[in-house]
C-alpha cells in the first residue's frame, strides 16, 4: 500500500475517533509532547495506560465481588482510572468513570456493576482503536513515511 494512502487513512481514522467521541483534545496535547528526543512517547503512555487500567479493572472486579463492598476502595480505583483516561484523552472511558463514581457515592452495587461492564466495554473498544491507530503509524514508519499531524480544525 502506498505510504500516502496509509497516511490519509491514519488521518481519517484519527478524525473519526474524535468525531465519535472516543478521543478528546488531550490526546492531541499528548501528541504535541512527542518529539525527536522522545519518539515513542504517545505509544508508551498509552500502553502504560492500558497496563494500569487492566490491573485496575481486575481489582475493581474483585472488589465488587466481595460480599461487603468497600466503596471507598472502589471509588479510589475509579478515580485513578478516570485520571489516567482523561490524561490520555480517552473520553468515553472517562465519561463512563464519571458515571461510575456517581454510583459509588450513593453506594449502589447494581449501578456499579453495570458501570463496571460499561467501563470494561469502553476500555476494550478504546484499546482496539488505539491498537489500530498505532498499527497504522507503525506501517507508515515501516514504509519510511512520517506521521502526519492531526489538525484541530474539525
Amino acid at each position: 500500500m502506498e505510504v500516502v494512502q496509509i497516511q490519509r487513512n491514519l488521518v481519517d481514522y484519527t478524525k473519526s475517533l474524535f468525531m465519535e467521541g472516543f478521543l478528546d483534545g488531550q490526546f492531541l496535547q499528548l501528541q504535541q509532547l512527542q518529539d525527536e528526543s522522545n519518539p515513542d512517547f504517545v505509544a508508551e503512555v498509552v500502553s502504560l495506560f492500558f497496563d494500569d487500567s487492566q490491573k485496575l479493572l481486575n481489582e475493581l472486579t474483585i472488589a465488587l465481588d466481595q460480599p461487603i463492598v468497600d466503596f471507598k476502595k472502589v471509588d479510589a480505583h475509579v478515580h485513578q482510572l478516570k485520571g489516567s483516561s482523561s490524561s490520555i484523552g480517552a473520553q468515553k472511558v472517562k465519561n463512563a468513570c464519571i458515571a461510575f463514581r456517581n454510583f459509588c457515592e450513593v453506594q449502589n452495587i447494581e449501578g456499579c456493576l453495570t458501570c463496571l461492564q460499561q467501563v470494561k466495554l469502553e476500555y476494550y473498544l478504546a484499546k482496539n482503536k488505539f491498537e489500530t491507530l498505532f498499527r497504522l503509524e507503525q506501517q507508515i514508519v515501516a514504509s519510511g513515511g512520517s506521521i502526519p499531524m492531526i489538525e484541530m480544525g474539525f
Binding site: 483534545g25 509532547l33 522522545n38 485520571g83 489516567s84 482523561s86 490524561s87
Partner: protein, 1013 residues
C-alpha cells in the same frame, strides 16, 4: 330566685370566656415568643438592651403558659394525635352541654310549676275560707232564727208568730243570710196530734213528692212558716222527703246544724243544700243524749242554700274570677263525690283541693280550684337553656375551627419547609451544575488555548497569525465568561473565599487604568483615578477580587460612555461622612470633563454604614473604603434600575447585542462587595450618567499607616521612582476636580504640586523665584483655548532669568486629538496622554527631564518562549499516584526543557525533598491514596522548618545544606477540580499555588514565573 339563677348563668358564661381568653393569650404569647427568639440576636446586635430586659420580664410572665404549651407539644407529640384528641374532646363537650341545658330547662320549668301551684293553693284557700265564713254567718243567723221561733212561737201561747209575720221578718232579714235562698220552719207533729193540728192550721199535711195528703205516719214535720220565696213548701211534711227526713232526724239527734246532700231544688231546679236546725222545747245540756234531744224536739228550721248562685256571687266579689275554675264537691260519699258547683269538664292540669267545714261533721265538702288557661310555656327556661347550648356550641365551634386552623397552618408550614428545602436543593444543584459544566468547558478550552499558544510559536504567515490571534482572543473571552459563571456558581454555593494578602491599592488601580486606557483613548473619554491621601498604601484583603469589582464597574462605564469622563475615587468612609454636609453645595458643573454627572452622594444614601453613629472603631485595624465610579454615559432607564443587580439581567435585550456581556458582572460584584463586608449602590440619571459606589472593609497592611501623611507619600514615591523627590510642579487647570486628580498622581512621585487656574497666576508664581518650579503641567483644554496666550507663556518662561526654565508638559486626553510638537514649534513641549498613572507619568517625566531611565519594563505581556526560558534546566519533582498522569505531566515539563523526576507516593516525595536536595520545584497531585498532597506538603514544610531552625541556631553546618539557610521548595498543587482547590486551602497546607491538570501553558507560566526569575 330567678335573679340568683341568672347570676349563676352569667358566672358560667364568664368562666367560659375567661378560659377562651387565657387560651388565646397563651397562643399569641407563644407565637410571639417563637418569633422573638429569631429577632433576639438582631436586637442584641443593635445594642437594644431594653428589649432584652423586656424579654426577661415577659419570660417570667409567660413562663406558665409556655410550660403548658411545651408540655402540650411534648405530650401530644405528633400533630395527628393532637387533632384526633381535639375531635374526641369536642364530642363530649357538645353532649355534655346539651345535657346540661336540658337539665337547666327542667330545673327552671319545675320551679315555675311549683310557683304556680303555690299561687293556686293560696287562691283556693282564700276562696274556701270566704265561702266557709259566709256560710257560717248564714248558719248562725238561721240558728238565731231557731231561737227566735222557740221563744216567740213555742214559748208564748198563743204564738206570737204566724206565717205573715215570719215571712215579713225573714224577708227583711234576708241580707243577713246571703247564702240562703229561703228559710222555712217545720213543726214536730206526732200522729196523735195530727188531727188537732190540721184543724188548727186549716190544711192537711201533705207528702213532699206527690203533694197529696200524707198517709198515716208516726210523726210528721209539716212546714208551718216559710219565707215568701219558698212559701210553696208550707204544709209539706219534711219527713216525707228522703233527704229532708234524714236531715231532720240527724238534726234533732245532734242538736247541730245539719246539711243535706246537694240536690235539685224544687222550683229553681238548681243545685242546693238544705241546712236544718232542731228547735227544742227547753234548753238542753250539751251532753244530752240523742233520745233526750228527740224528746225535747219542737220543730225544725231549714234554710235552703243555693250553692251554685252563692259561689258565683262569691267569686264575682273576687277579682281573679277569670283566671281560675272553681268546683265544689260534696265528698261525704268518698267513692262518688257530688258536684255542687262548677262545670264538670275534667282537666288534667294543676288542681288544688281545699276542705270546707260547714259545721256538719257528717258531711264533708271540698273546693277544687284549677287555672282556666293552660299554664304558659316556660319561656325563660327555654331561652336560657337554648342560650347556654348556643354559647357552648359556639365555643366548641371556635375550638374546632381554631384546632383545624392550627393544623392547617402547621401543614402549610411543613409544606413550605419542604418547598424551601426543595428550592434550596434545586439552587445547590443549579450551582453544582454550573460549576461542573463550567469546569467541563474549561478543560477542553484550556486545550484549545494551549494549542493556539503553540500554534503561534510555529512559523505562520501574517494572515494565519491574525486568524490565530482572533481565535485566541475569542477563546480567552469565552474562558473569561466561564470564569464569571464559575464565580457566580462559587459564590452561590458559598465556596468562594477571599484571600488575605497584602496589596497596594494604588498599583491595582493603575493596572486597571492601563487596562482601559486604550479603549478610553479610542473613544475620547477621559479616564481618571483619585485616591485620597488618607487611604493607607498597603492593605490586606483580596486584591484580585477588588480588582474584579473595579474592572467590572469601569468596564460597564466605558461600555456605555461615549463622551465626557469616567472617574474613580477612593476615600475612607470617615472622610466622606465628614464631608457630606460640606460638599452638598458643590455645583454639578464642577466635574472632571465639565459634563453633568449623577450625584454620587445619592448612590450611598441607603448604605447602612452611614446610618450608624459610629461607623468604624477608630482604633481598630480595619480600613473602611468607599469607592465611586462615576461616568457620563447613557445612564440606566428608571424602569430597569431595580434589576441592575439581578444575574443575567441586562437593560433591554438590545443592549446585549450592542454591547455584549452576560449581565452577570454586577451581580458578582454585589456578591463580592458583600463578602468584603461592604455595600454597593448606584444612582443613575438617563442621558446624564451613572455613579456606582461601593464600600469594602480591609485591614491595615502595615503599621506605617499610622505614620504621618507626608511620610506615607514619600514611601509611595519610593516604590515608583525617587529621583523626582523634592521637585516642584505647577499644574495649570481651571477645573478643581481635574486638578485634584493631576495633583494626586504627581504627588505620588514625591513632587510638590501647586495648582493655578490661569496664565497670569502661573507666571507670577514662576517669577516669584524663591522656589524654583521644575515643571509646568498644562491641561490641554487651557492650551487649546487660546493658542496665542500659550505661545506667549512659553516665550515668557524661556526668558526667566534665574535657573533653568521649567519643563512644560501638556496633559492630553487622547493621542490622536493632541497637537503634538508640530503646533508648538520649537519649544520643547512634552505630551503626557491621560489617563495619568504613576508609572507612566514617571516615565514621561524621566524622558523629558533626562533623568536616567532605568528601563524597567512592566511585564504586562508574556514574553514568547518564556516558559521554555523559565523551565530550561530546572529540576522538578512530579508526584502523582497515577502513572499515566505522571507520564503526561513529565512529558509536558520535559518539553519545556525541565529535568523531571517522578514519584508516585507522598512518602517518596518527602524523602526526595528532605534537604539537601537539588529540586527547584515540585508539582504534587492533591488526591492520592495513603497520603494526599496537602499532608505530604505539610510534612515537607515541617522538615524544612526543622532544618532551617537548626541551621539558623548553629546546630547544623550550613555548608552541609548547599549553603542554603532557608529551605523552601515551591510546591504547586495539581488538580482537575478547580472549585475544590482554593488558594486558601493550598496556602494553609504550605503550598505555593496550584495548576490545573492537564497543564495549560499560560497558567503554568503565571504560577512558575513567581518562583523562577
Amino acid at each position: 330566685m330567678s335573679l340568683l339563677h341568672v347570676f349563676g348563668f352569667g358566672l358560667k358564661v364568664g368562666h367560659l370566656l375567661w378560659i377562651l381568653c387565657c387560651w388565646i393569650a397563651s397562643m399569641i404569647s407563644m407565637n410571639w415568643f417563637i418569633n422573638g427568639e429569631f429577632k433576639n440576636p438582631k436586637a442584641g446586635l443593635l445594642g437594644d438592651s431594653g428589649s432584652k430586659m423586656w424579654f426577661k420580664c415577659w419570660d417570667e410572665i409567660s413562663n406558665f403558659s409556655f410550660k403548658i404549651h411545651h408540655q402540650y407539644y411534648q405530650y401530644i407529640g405528633s400533630k395527628k394525635v393532637c387533632k384526633s384528641l381535639w375531635r374526641k374532646l369536642l364530642f363530649p363537650w357538645v353532649i355534655g352541654w346539651t345535657l346540661a341545658s336540658v337539665w337547666i330547662f327542667y330545673y327552671m320549668s319545675s320551679h315555675a310549676t311549683e310557683k304556680s301551684k303555690e299561687t293556686l293553693a293560696s287562691m283556693c284557700e282564700e276562696r274556701a275560707r270566704m265561702l266557709q265564713d259566709q256560710f257560717n254567718v248564714s248558719m248562725n243567723h238561721i240558728q238565731a232564727m231557731s231561737i227566735l221561733i222557740s221563744t216567740f212561737h213555742h214559748g208564748k201561747t198563743p204564738s206570737a208568730i204566724d206565717q205573715g209575720t215570719f215571712a215579713r221578718y225573714t224577708e227583711q232579714t234576708d241580707f243577713e243570710r246571703p247564702l240562703t235562698s229561703g228559710v222555712a220552719y217545720a213543726v214536730r207533729v206526732l200522729h196523735s196530734e195530727r188531727e188537732q193540728f190540721e184543724r188548727q192550721q186549716g190544711w192537711t199535711i201533705k207528702r213532699m213528692d206527690t203533694l197529696e195528703t200524707s198517709p198515716i205516719q208516726e210523726e210528721y214535720a209539716p212546714v208551718i212558716f216559710a219565707q215568701d220565696i219558698v212559701s210553696h213548701v208550707v204544709s209539706l211534711d219534711m219527713l216525707s222527703g228522703k233527704e229532708d227526713r234524714e236531715n231532720v232526724l240527724r238534726a234533732r239527734r245532734s242538736g247541730k246544724g245539719v246539711l243535706t246532700a246537694p240536690f235539685r231544688l224544687l222550683k229553681t231546679n238548681r243545685l242546693g243544700v238544705i241546712l236544718t236546725f232542731a228547735v227544742y222545747k227547753r234548753d238542753l245540756p250539751s251532753n244530752a243524749t240523742p233520745n233526750e234531744r228527740i224528746e225535747a224536739t219542737d220543730g225544725y228550721l231549714g234554710g235552703v242554700f243555693d250553692i251554685e248562685s252563692l259561689v258565683e256571687k262569691l267569686l264575682q266579689q273576687l277579682s281573679s274570677e277569670q283566671t281560675t275554675l272553681v268546683n265544689v264537691f260534696d265528698t261525704s260519699n268518698q267513692s262518688c263525690p257530688v258536684s255542687m258547683y262548677g262545670s264538670n269538664s275534667s282537666n288534667d292540669g294543676l288542681e288544688h283541693v281545699s276542705h270546707l267545714n260547714f259545721g256538719d261533721p257528717f258531711r264533708k265538702h271540698e273546693m277544687r280550684c284549677r287555672f282556666k288557661q293552660k299554664p304558659p310555656l316556660p319561656w325563660v327556661a327555654i331561652t336560657t337553656s337554648i342560650g347556654i347550648l348556643v354559647i357552648a356550641l359556639l365555643v366548641g365551634h371556635i375550638f374546632h375551627a381554631t384546632v383545624n386552623r392550627i393544623a392547617k397552618v402547621e401543614d402549610d408550614c411543613h409544606k413550605m419547609m419542604e418547598l424551601t428545602k426543595q428550592a434550596e436543593a434545586a439552587d445547590i444543584a443549579k450551582s453544582q451544575f454550573l460549576a461542573t459544566v463550567s469546569h467541563e468547558i474549561r478543560t477542553p478550552m484550556n486545550g484549545v488555548l494551549g494549542m493556539l499558544d503553540m500554534l503561534m510559536d510555529t512559523d505562520l504567515d501574517v494572515t494565519q497569525l491574525d486568524y490565530v490571534r482572533t481565535a485566541q482572543a475569542s477563546g480567552k473571552a469565552l474562558v473569561a465568561l466561564i470564569n464569571e459563571v464559575l464565580d457566580q456558581a462559587k459564590i452561590e454555593s458559598g465556596k468562594l473565599e477571599l484571600e488575605e494578602v497584602q496589596f497596594d491599592l494604588r498599583a491595582i488601580l493603575d493596572d486597571v487604568l492601563s487596562l482601559f486606557s486604550g479603549k478610553s483613548q479610542d473613544k475620547g473619554v477621559e479616564l481618571a483615578v483619585y485616591i485620597s491621601d488618607r487611604v493607607p498604601k498597603m492593605l490586606i484583603g483580596d486584591p484580585g477580587r477588588f480588582r474584579q469589582i473595579i474592572t467590572n464597574l469601569m468596564g460597564n462605564s466605558i461600555k456605555f460612555t461615549e463622551r465626557g469622563h469616567i472617574l474613580v475615587t477612593v476615600h475612607l468612609v470617615e472622610e466622606v461622612i465628614d464631608s457630606i454636609e460640606v460638599e452638598t453645595e458643590s455645583s454639578s458643573k464642577d466635574t472632571l470633563s465639565g459634563f453633568p454627572v449623577a450625584d454620587r452622594r445619592q448612590s450611598w444614601k441607603g448604605f447602612r454604614t452611614f446610618g450608624q453613629e459610629e461607623p468604624v472603631h477608630p482604633f481598630s485595624d480595619s480600613i473602611n473604603l468607599i469607592v465611586s465610579v462615576e461616568d457620563t454615559g447613557l445612564g440606566i432607564p428608571l424602569d430597569d434600575q431595580s434589576r441592575v443587580f439581578t444575574p443575567f439581567m441586562q437593560v433591554g435585550p438590545s443592549i446585549a447585542r450592542t454591547h455584549g456581556g452576560t449581565g452577570i458582572g454586577l451581580s458578582i460584584s454585589k456578591c463580592l462587595v458583600g463578602l468584603m463586608k461592604g455595600e454597593i449602590g448606584f444612582v443613575s440619571i438617563p442621558k446624564v450618567g451613572s455613579t456606582f459606589t461601593f464600600t469594602a472593609v480591609f485591614s491595615s497592611g502595615s503599621s506605617s499607616s499610622k505614620v504621618h501623611k507626608s511620610q506615607q507619600i514619600n514611601s509611595q514615591s519610593n516604590t515608583v521612582s525617587s529621583e523626582f523627590h523634592g521637585m516642584r510642579a505647577l499644574v495649570l487647570d481651571p477645573r478643581p476636580v481635574r486638578a485634584k486628580v493631576s495633583r494626586y498622581h504627581i504627588q505620588r512621585l514625591g513632587i510638590h504640586v501647586e495648582i493655578v487656574s490661569d496664565w497670569k497666576q502661573a507666571l507670577s508664581i514662576i517669577n516669584r523665584g524663591n522656589n524654583a518650579i521644575h515643571m509646568v503641567l498644562i491641561e490641554q483644554e487651557v492650551w487649546d483655548r487660546d493658542l496665542s496666550c500659550s505661545g506667549l507663556f512659553i516665550n515668557k518662561l524661556e526668558k526667566i532669568g534665574h535657573g533653568t526654565p521649567p519643563k512644560v508638559f501638556l496633559l492630553c486626553n487622547s493621542i490622536n486629538s493632541s497637537r503634538g510638537n508640530t503646533t508648538t514649534g520649537a519649544c520643547d513641549l512634552t505630551i503626557i496622554s491621560k489617563p495619568l498613572r504613576a508609572s507612566m507619568l514617571a516615565a514621561s517625566l524621566q524622558r523629558a527631564m533626562g533623568i536616567g531611565n532605568k528601563g524597567n519594563p512592566r511585564n504586562g505581556e508574556l514574553p514568547s518562549l518564556s516558559l521554555r526560558n523559565l523551565l530550561l534546566g530546572r529540576k522538578i519533582l512530579i508526584v502523582d499516584d497515577n502513572n499515566v498522569n505522571l507520564k503526561v505531566a513529565a512529558g509536558a515539563l520535559k518539553k519545556y526543557g525541565a529535568d523531571v523526576v517522578s514519584a508516585t507516593r507522598g512518602i517518596e516525595a518527602i524523602e526526595l525533598l528532605t534537604p539537601p536536595h537539588q529540586f527547584d520545584a515540585c508539582f504534587m497531585d492533591i488526591q492520592m491514596p495513603e497520603m494526599d498532597g496537602f499532608e505530604a506538603t505539610g510534612r515537607i514544610r515541617d522538615v524544612e522548618q526543622n532544618i532551617n531552625n537548626r541551621v539558623q541556631f548553629g546546630g547544623l553546618p550550613v555548608d552541609a545544606y548547599n549553603n542554603v539557610s532557608n529551605w523552601h521548595v515551591p510546591i504547586l498543587a495539581m488538580t482537575a477540580d478547580v472549585i475544590q482547590a482554593t488558594h486558601e486551602q493550598c496556602q494553609q497546607s504550605g503550598m505555593d499555588g496550584y495548576v490545573s491538570k492537564p497543564f495549560e501553558a499560560e497558567q503554568l507560566y503565571l504560577e512558575v514565573s513567581r518562583f523562577f526569575q
